[in-house]
C-alpha cells in the first residue's frame, strides 16, 4: 500500500526522522497557506515518481506565487492519477543530497539497506548507468540494525563530525520504521544536508505490506487508510472495490468470470490469443462467498459493453457447489439475457453439477443460453466457443 508523501512523513515524525514543516492543501483548504513562511516548495501528492520533471514540484517566494503554483497543480492528471492535494513545505538551502532506502531484495530474500552518495535527481542516472555506485547492506529478517552499522553507513555516505551521528540516527530509525510498520519500501530521496548543517528527509516514499495491516491499527488513527493505487477508478471499478473484488475494466466485450488471479491473467491472454476481446480482469480470491460470486456476475451483466460471459471454476479451496449455487441464485433473481459459456471442475463438482441440472430442469427458459462444460472439455475450447458466440451476436 503506497503512501502519499505527506502520509509517509507522518510516519517519519513518529520515528523522529527530521522533515520540514509543511501544510497539506486541497481545494477546500487554501487558507492553510496563511501558516507558511516563505520561500516554500509546492509538491503535488501522487503515487508516481518524476514529479519534478512533470512540473509538479514548484517553488514560490511569496503567497501570490504559492497560490499560482497550487492552482497550476491541483486537478491536473499525473499518469492515471488526478492530483487532489499539494504539500507546501519550507524551502531550505541545500549543501548535499544523498539517497537512502530500506527495502526487500526478493532475489536474496533479505531486507536490504541501500545508499548512494549522489541523491536527488541523479539517482535515476546512477540506477541506469552506475549501479555499482549504490552501496548495499543486507540484513537477516527480524535482526535489529546495530548502531555501529548505521554509523558505518553514515560514514560510507561521506558524513563526519556532527553529521555522522545525525545521519546514523536517521538510518537507524528508517530501518526501525521499515520493520516496525511492515514496509516493503522506505525511500528517502533526497536526504539533504542543509546549509544550516541540519539533516532533512526532503521526500518520503513508503510502501506498506497490505497483508500486515492487521498489525497496525495505529495507521487508521493517523488517518492513513487503504487506497486504490492504480489511478482513477471507473464507476464499475469503484463498485467492485466496495464489494472487495479486485477488478479492472478492459476494452473488450467478453466478460471474464474466472477463479483466482492466476487464471484471471491467463484467461485474458488466451482470449486475446484467440482473437477475442476481454472486457475485464477479475479475481475471486480463495474460497469466495456466494454473495461475492453473485456480485462478480453482476459486474459483468450490468456492463453494457459485455455481450457474452466466459466463466471458469476449478474447485480447489473454492467449492464447485458454492459456485453453482451462486450462479443459479443470480440467474433466478436477475434473469440475465447474456449467453454464458462456462466450465466447472474440481472439488465438490458432483454436488455442483446436480444443482445446475436441477435448475435447468426447473427453469429451462432462464438457463437456455447458459452452458457449463465439465473437466473433459479443454478450457481453450470453452474460450473459443465463447468467442464464436460473441462474434455471432456481433454480426446479428
Amino acid at each position: 500500500m503506497r503512501l502519499y508523501e505527506f502520509e509517509a512523513k507522518k510516519l517519519f515524525r513518529r520515528y523522529k526522522i527530521p522533515v520540514l514543516e509543511g501544510v497539506i492543501i486541497d481545494r477546500n483548504s487554501l487558507n492553510e497557506l496563511e501558516k507558511v513562511t516563505y520561500p516554500v516548495v509546492v509538491k503535488a501528492q501522487t503515487f508516481l515518481g518524476g514529479r519534478g520533471k512533470a512540473g509538479f514540484i514548484q517553488f514560490a517566494s511569496d503567497k501570490k506565487e504559492a497560490n499560482k503554483a497550487i492552482c497550476s497543480i491541483l486537478g491536473k492528471s499525473h499518469g492515471p492519477f488526478v492530483i487532489e492535494k499539494v504539500l507546501v513545505e519550507k524551502r531550505i538551502d541545500i549543501e548535499k543530497e544523498v539517497y537512502i532506502a530500506a527495502t526487500i531484495d526478493r532475489l536474496e530474500h533479505k531486507p536490504l539497506f541501500m545508499l548512494s552518495k549522489r541523491g536527488g535527481m541523479e539517482i535515476e542516472a546512477i540506477t541506469k548507468h552506475d549501479p555499482e555506485e549504490l552501496l548495499k547492506y543486507y540484513f537477516n529478517p527480524d535482526d535489529i540494525m546495530p548502531g555501529f552499522k548505521a554509523r558505518i553507513m553514515a560514514a560510507d555516505l561521506g558524513f563526519t563530525g556532527n553529521g555522522l551521528g545525525l545521519v546514523a540516527g536517521i538510518i537507524f530509525e528508517t530501518y526501525r520504521l521499515f520493520q516496525g510498520f511492515d514496509c516493503k519500501l522506505v525511500e528517502i530521496n533526497p536526504l539533504a544536508l542543509g546549509k544550516d548543517k541540519n539533516i532533512y528527509a526532503l521526500d518520503a516514499k513508503v510502501d506498506l505490506d497490505e497483508d500486515a495491516m492487521f498489525r497496525h491499527p495505529e495507521l487508521k488513527e493517523m488517518g492513513i487508510t487503504a487506497r486504490h493505487e492504480v489511478g482513477e477508478l471507473t464507476q464499475r471499478e469503484q463498485t467492485a472495490k466496495a464489494a472487495g473484488i479486485p477488478y479492472v475494466d478492459l476494452d473488450g466485450n467478453i466478460g471474464v468470470f474466472p477463479g483466482g488471479a492466476g487464471f484471471g491473467i491467463a484467461a485474458i491472454d488466451l482470449i486475446t490469443h484467440y482473437q477475442g476481446k476481454p472486457a475485464n480482469f477479475m479475481d475471486s480470491g480463495g474460497a469466495p462467498t456466494q454473495e461475492k460470486l453473485r456480485a462478480m456476475l453482476g459486474l459483468l451483466i450490468d456492463n453494457p459493453k459485455v455481450k457474452t460471459i466466459f466463466g471458469a471454476r476449478f474447485g480447489g479451496i473454492s467449492r464447485c457447489d458454492d459456485w453453482a449455487k451462486a450462479l443459479v441464485q443470480y440467474v433466478k433473481e436477475n434473469k440475465p439475457k447474456k449467453p454464458m459459456i462456462m466450465r466447472m471442475a474440481g472439488n465438490m463438482e458432483k454436488q455442483g453439477r446436480k444443482i445446475l441440472e436441477q435448475a435447468k430442469r426447473d427453469y429451462p427458459e432462464l438457463f437456455k443460453d447458459i452452458k457449463v462444460y465439465a473437466v473433459d472439455t479443454p478450457i481453450e475450447d470453452v474460450i473459443k466457443e465463447t468467442i464464436r458466440i460473441e462474434k455471432e451476436l456481433d454480426t446479428e
Binding site: R106, A212, G259, F263, D269, I317
Partner: protein
C-alpha cells in the same frame, strides 16, 4: 518414490479444526494421503475425520515421530508461528496453504527453515499432488492423473489447467507442485526443477509462470543444466504493467518481472515456450520424441 510426497509419507495438518482444513483433510484422506495427526492449540483431544488433534506439533510427534510433511492451514497472522513450530519440531517439508502471510513474517520463517535444510512450499500454495499416491493441499483430484510429467506453477488454477491439458492429451503427472501465490515463497522454481531432474519417475517438466516477481528469471539458468526438457508457459502478456514506487525496486530487480523478461530468460536458457495451454502437450510430445532428453528412467 515421487518427489515431496508419496503414498507412505506421513503428514500432519496444522490448523486442522478450521473449516477449510477439516474439509480438505477429508478429501486428502479419501485420496489416500497418510495423515496421522492434526494440531490446533487448545483443541487437543478432539477428533477431526477420525484424526486425533493435538495442542502442539511436538505432542503429535511424540506419538508419531516419523512425520515427514506438515501442511499449514492457520489464519495468516498465525502462519509464521505455525511454520516455526514445524521447523522447531524438525519436520522436513512444510506445505503452507495459508495465503496473505505478511512479507516480513515469511522472510523470517523461510530463513529459519533454510538454516535447518527444511523445504517450505508456499504460502498460498494449492498444494502438492503425486497422482494416485498422495495429495497434500486442496488441489482437485479429478484434474490429475498418474504419469511421468512433472508440473510446477505459482497459481492454483493454472496448476489445474496445466494438468487438465496434459491429461486430455493422454499424459499424466508424476507430481504437480503449486509454488504459491504469495509475494515471498519458500521453495522456488529452481528447487522444484532440481527435484524433478533427479526424479527417475519424471521424463519432462512443465512450468507455468506469470507476470510479477523474479522467480522465473532466477530459475532460468538452471534449465541449461537439466537433462530433461522443460516446457514453459508464461501468462500476463496482455496485462498492463504497473509502475514501481521509488527507485529501489529497479535497482535490485532491473527489468525483471514482466512476461516478456520471463519469456526471454527462459528461452535463452533452453526452455521450450508454449503460447497456449493446448500447445503444452504437443510440445511435450515433440520434446520427448524429438530429442533424447529425459529417457533415463
Amino acid at each position: 518414490m515421487a518427489i515431496i510426497i508419496d503414498k507412505d509419507t506421513k503428514t500432519i495438518v496444522q490448523g486442522i479444526t478450521g473449516k477449510n482444513a477439516s474439509l480438505h483433510t477429508k478429501f486428502m484422506l479419501e485420496y489416500g494421503t497418510k495423515i496421522v495427526g492434526g494440531v490446533t492449540p487448545g483443541k487437543g483431544g478432539q477428533v477431526v475425520e477420525k484424526i486425533e488433534v493435538y495442542d502442539t506439533v511436538h505432542q503429535c510427534l511424540e506419538v508419531h515421530p516419523d512425520v515427514a510433511v506438515s501442511s499449514i492451514w492457520v489464519p495468516p497472522r498465525f502462519a509464521k508461528d505455525a511454520i516455526l513450530e514445524a521447523v522447531d519440531a524438525g519436520i522436513k517439508t512444510i506445505i503452507v496453504i495459508t495465503e496473505c502471510i505478511p512479507i516480513h513474517d515469511m522472510l523470517y520463517a523461510r530463513l529459519k527453515a533454510k538454516e535447518k535444510d527444511i523445504v517450505v512450499i508456499g504460502g498460498n500454495t494449492p498444494g502438492v499432488i503425486s497422482p494416485g499416491k498422495a495429495l497434500v493441499g486442496m488441489l482437485p483430484k479429478i484434474t490429475f492423473k498418474p504419469g511421468r510429467i512433472g508440473t510446477v506453477a505459482r497459481s492454483g488454477a493454472v496448476t489445474y489447467y496445466l494438468a487438465n491439458s496434459l491429461n486430455l492429451a493422454g499424459f499424466g503427472e508424476s507430481t504437480s507442485v503449486g509454488l504459491g501465490g504469495d509475494p515471498i515463497l519458500g521453495a522456488n522454481y529452481e528447487d522444484i526443477l532440481r527435484l524433478f531432474e533427479n526424479d527417475p519417475e519424471t521424463d519432462a517438466v512443465v512450468m507455468a509462470g506469470e507476470i510479477g516477481g523474479v522467480y522465473e528469471e532466477l530459475a532460468a539458468p538452471f534449465i541449461e543444466h537439466m537433462s530433461k526438457p522443460v516446457i514453459a508457459f508464461i501468462t500476463g502478456k496482455t496485462a498492463p504493467q504497473g509502475k514501481r514506487l521509488g527507485h529501489a525496486g529497479a535497482i535490485i530487480e532491473g527489468n525483471m518481472g514482466t512476461a516478456h523478461s520471463k519469456i526471454e530468460a527462459l528461452k535463452k536458457h533452453g526452455a521450450i515456450l508454449a503460447e497456449t495451454l493446448s500447445e503444452i502437450p504437443i510440445l511435450v510430445k515433440k520434446a520427448l520424441e524429438g530429442e533424447n532428453k529425459g529417457k533415463k528412467a
